[in-house]
């Protein structure tokens, strides 16, 4: 346990984390061990977070060491796509029984790993530790080591009992497992002067595939993604990249920084959401690659591509501008996506009547303030009841949020578009922003909203 504790303290004080940077020295020393409030907490646990970060490694067997609640209640429920192996969608768990809790389940875990390798022959097995076996003292690190040696296959321990902390901490602990056991263990078949890593890209609903053609066209090779549509081999050889883009700042910042430290891979923070963000990403990566000895004409080619793509997007968004101008949006999403989406919506003339800053850093706040010209419409918290009232009183024409608040909007008979990880449409890149605006337009234009406002035949005049 002390090993895990050490790791957590280390992560809590992550120097590259924007939230930490914004704190003064005293605050920073305390770390981000924010206490959850029993009875009014929301969100997943550390195990959940690690699974979100690592499960997109598609050819690996993800084995959950715990009772049925951890995997049985949650498997195959995330919309991350694979271009090949479907093994990541198979649910593997030791499904601990009362007997295992009393007598320990290290042997059972070993046998489970052995069964998986015999039946499914994956390049590696990731073993996730959960609360119950962590409490009974199953030493998964030792079991994984023994299994690796005897079975001749990498078996990676991911020590993430749910009680260790939040989903976000779990993302980072998952990243640590990769740094400790995977990155740098294999060499890529070949390298190029334009090899890059994408850190914090999960290929949700295949949206990375909307961006990949741009890199392909520029001759930039994505050596590894952490971890969207990734193969074990890619991650293992990712230490040879020349540069990296860090995409979801809160999630895997530790991976980006430590890879810079250990393998001298420079990185910058970017986003594929929004036209200007996408263009900035391409510009910045080109500049970094040139600095690292990449082709000198790369920035020029990037500018040409950006000019072409931005003109194309602009033309494709034009018809929406007429239809969406002045529509009021309530935007509820975490962190980096807020400002990315805000600028995109303003581009088509929509008005932001409120946005949440729940997972945002000080930098995110400043950006939103700059884009919107005011911080008047930022909410830190908006309880479901308040949100429902706002929507029912028609303070907004549409809400954009994650699935959690979906039914608050729908029950208030308000148009709603999904913008978090469970969505069904990719919003990344130039293609994605057209998707998002198109989806907003389709939703707003749907004739059901007017029909739902009609009174029931038995309702009195003037009743709600």
């Amino acid at each position: 346990m002390s090993m895990l504790k050490h790791k957590i303290v280390d992560l809590m004080q992550e120097p590259a984390c924007a939230v930490n940077q914004a704190k003064d020295h005293k605050e920073r020393k305390k770390g981000c061990a924010k206490q959850l409030t029993p009875g009014s907490a929301a969100g997943g646990c550390a195990f959940d977070g690690a699974k979100i970060a690592l499960q997109p490694v598609v050819d690996v067997a993800h084995l959950v060491h715990g009772p049925i609640g951890c995997e049985g209640n949650s498997w195959d429920s995330r919309h991350v796509f694979s271009s090949g192996s479907q093994l990541y969608r198979t649910g593997f768990t030791t499904d601990l029984s009362e007997f295992d809790v009393i007598y320990g389940a290290e042997k059972k875990l070993y046998r489970a790993i052995k069964e998986i390798i015999a039946k499914y022959d994956p390049p590696a097995v990731f073993v996730y530790q959960t609360c119950v076996p962590a409490m009974t003292g199953d030493d998964i690190e030792a079991v994984c080591r023994a299994a690796s040696e005897r079975l001749g296959r990498p078996v990676i321990p991911v020590n993430v009992p749910g009680f260790a902390g939040s989903k976000n901490l779990g993302n980072k602990l998952g990243g640590e497992a990769l740094l400790e056991h995977v990155v740098g263990t294999m060499e890529p078949e070949f390298t190029t002067p334009t090899d890059i890593n994408l850190i914090g890209e999960y290929n949700v609903v295949g949206e990375f595939w909307q961006v990949k053609p741009l890199f392909d066209e520029l001759g930039i090779r994505v050596l590894a993604t952490f971890c969207g549509d990734a193969r074990y081999r890619d991650i293992a050889g990712s230490h040879r990249a020349k540069a990296a883009i860090m995409l979801c700042s809160q999630a895997l910042i530790n991976v980006a920084r430590k890879m810079e430290q250990r393998y001298a891979i420079p990185f910058f923070e970017g986003s594929f959401y929004g036209v200007s963000n996408m263009s900035d990403c391409l510009r910045n990566i080109a500049a970094l690659l040139v600095k690292r000895g990449g082709p000198a004409d790369l920035p020029e080619r990037v500018e040409a591509l950006i000019a072409r793509e931005e003109a194309r997007v602009s033309a494709r968004l034009a018809p929406f501008k007429v239809r969406l101008r002045g529509k009021r949006v309530l935007l509820f999403t975490g962190g980096i996506k807020s400002w990315a989406v805000v600028s995109a919506l303003q581009e088509v003339g929509m008005e932001i009547v409120g946005t949440s800053m729940r997972k945002s850093t000080q930098g995110d706040r400043e950006r939103v303030t700059r884009i919107m010209g005011t911080d008047a419409h930022m909410f830190d918290e908006l309880p479901a009841r308040e949100m429902y009232r706002m929507l029912r009183d028609s303070k907004a024409d549409i809400m954009l949020s994650g699935g959690r608040s979906q039914f608050v909007a729908l029950k208030a008979k308000t148009p709603w578009v999904e913008v978090n990880q469970e969505r069904h449409l990719g919003y990344a890149g130039y293609e994605g922003i057209v998707n998002l605006v198109g989806e907003i337009d389709r939703t707003l234009a749907n004739p059901i909203w007017a029909q739902l406002q009609a009174r029931a035949p038995w309702e009195e005049e003037g009743a709600a």
Binding site: A41, P67, N73, E98
Partner: protein
């Protein structure tokens, strides 16, 4: 009769593609069928988050579900403080009539004495007196979803039901198992009421999770069984339990209040529906309403029309014991054969199933045994196997996250059984294999090519 075995190979250590879900969230779903209730999972916040996402995706509703948010230190010290804070916070914020406290593997491994904690908390916080709190022990490592549901209902009865000497002849308790959808419960309520009887349904998902648009927004359940009704259950003339899982709860009420009970292991199929209607006619001392006479006749007709497509077909089913029982007998009643039966937990109903072997296992066991079958039946997680095997999947049970209307699917009663025959029969019809066309089949003027391509086009599909 069938034999019950565990795991595919003896001593399989790794469950692959779980069929089973935890008893913890089974219990929490039972509480979601109570009025103004907030289920509270005593564990780490992930325990709640997973259950929440699962229910949201199945019912397409907001789901009130809270957590005591146990961390490392509180896990070591015990969960008294967290439970206390959670109850006080919830009372202040949401003011529910009932909190159902479901324990998890985490707090059970630690050995938290929840009943003892509750006593201490009540002494310290007299303001909580107006709020009922029912604790249920549901470690994830014991039993499955339906066990948790059954246990929660039993605990509610044991804590809330009151003995009553005077019985109300027209009042009937209904204890639905977790395999009944809100649509099934609605059907059952209408049936009981049609005989002039007053049903008390515990728990009643048909009020809380039937997918309606409420006029207001509450942080607790909206609809469901009121506590006052549970307290009146002791005055009922009879308890009708649906699913073997509900027997212990029915027994508890008999013990406490002397209410006799009858368990129906299923209400899908002609014979069990006949038995239900005979019972209702007997206790209400009325004849079966004309509506049900017509529906019975419609079911007979559906059986006649449908048996062509069911007869001799092989079906592989993966479901929790009581749902497996209902579906297994349904297919067998219609002349189909069960080629594989896999379930999540042990139950007395398993040995009665009309197949040779029932396995307590996972969807990997099911997929292996299902090869060559005409139809697969499982919850939505069966979709990957269906794709690999190229066999149509009929979705039954929870979770059903890739279909609309899971809550309204009705498969009990004459009408529900009739519709189930049509729904499944249509899947059989759509996937009929036409005889292969021999190359020298060409006779007369019409070519064989179009027939053959027609047969090829009969690709695997399901409603």
């Amino acid at each position: 009769m069938s034999t019950v075995s565990k795991g595919a190979a003896a001593g399989k250590a790794c469950a692959v593609n779980p069929l089973k879900m935890s008893s913890t969230i089974g219990a929490s779903l039972a509480f979601l069928g109570m009025e103004r209730c907030l289920p509270l999972l005593h564990g780490s916040q992930g325990c709640t988050a997973f259950g929440l996402v699962l229910f949201v995706r199945h019912f397409r509703e907001t789901i009130p579900l809270q957590t005591t948010a146990m961390g490392e230190v509180t896990t070591i010290l015990g969960g008294l403080d967290n439970l206390e804070q959670a109850l006080v916070n919830i009372h202040k914020r949401a003011d529910p009539a009932l909190i159902g406290v479901c324990t998890t593997g985490l707090t059970e491994t630690k050995g938290d004495d929840v009943a003892g904690y509750l006593k201490l908390i009540r002494e310290k916080h007299p303001q909580l007196a107006s709020m009922e709190v029912v604790p249920v022990s549901t470690p994830d490592y014991v039993g499955a979803f339906q066990d948790g549901w059954a246990r929660a209902v039993q605990c509610m009865i044991e804590q809330l039901a009151v003995p009553s000497k005077a019985k109300t002849a027209w009042q009937v308790n209904i204890l639905p198992g977790c395999h009944l959808t809100p649509g099934d419960i609605e059907e059952l309520r209408e049936t009981v009421e049609a005989y002039g009887l007053l049903p008390i349904i515990l728990p009643d998902l048909s009020g809380s999770l039937d997918g309606h648009v409420p006029e207001t927004f509450l942080p607790t359940t909206l609809g469901g069984t009121p506590l006052a009704q549970v307290r009146r259950m002791g005055a009922s003339a009879l308890t009708i339990a649906i699913g073997e899982q509900m027997r212990p709860a029915a027994q508890a009420l008999e013990r406490i209040a002397g209410v006799p009970f009858q368990v129906f292991d299923r209400l899908t199929g002609l014979a069990p529906c006949d038995a239900l209607h005979a019972l209702l006619a007997q206790i209400s001392e009325t004849d079966a309403p004309a509506k049900y006479r017509r529906q019975r006749s419609q079911l007979q007709d559906a059986m006649l029309d449908g048996h062509f497509y069911f007869g001799g077909r092989t079906v592989a089913i993966a479901a929790e014991p009581d749902l497996l029982c209902a579906l297994g007998h349904f297919f067998s009643d219609m002349g189909a054969h069960i080629s594989a039966a896999v379930t999540s937990t042990h139950s007395p109903v398993l040995v009665q199933l009309p197949c040779t072997d029932v396995r307590v296992g996972d969807l990997e066991d099911w997929e292996q045994a299902a090869a060559g079958s005409d139809l697969l039946v499982a919850h939505s997680h069966g979709r990957q196997a269906a794709g690999r095997l190229g066999i149509p999947l009929y979705r039954a049970g929870m979770p059903m996250f890739d279909r609309l209307g899971a809550m309204h699917k009705t498969s009990i009663g004459y009408r529900g059984t009739r519709d189930l025959i049509f729904e499944v029969g249509n899947v059989f019809i759509e996937n009929q294999h036409e005889p292969a066309c021999p190359t020298d089949a060409h006779v007369g003027i019409s070519g064989c090519a179009e027939n053959c391509s027609h047969a090829d086009a009969a690709a695997v599909s399901c409603h």
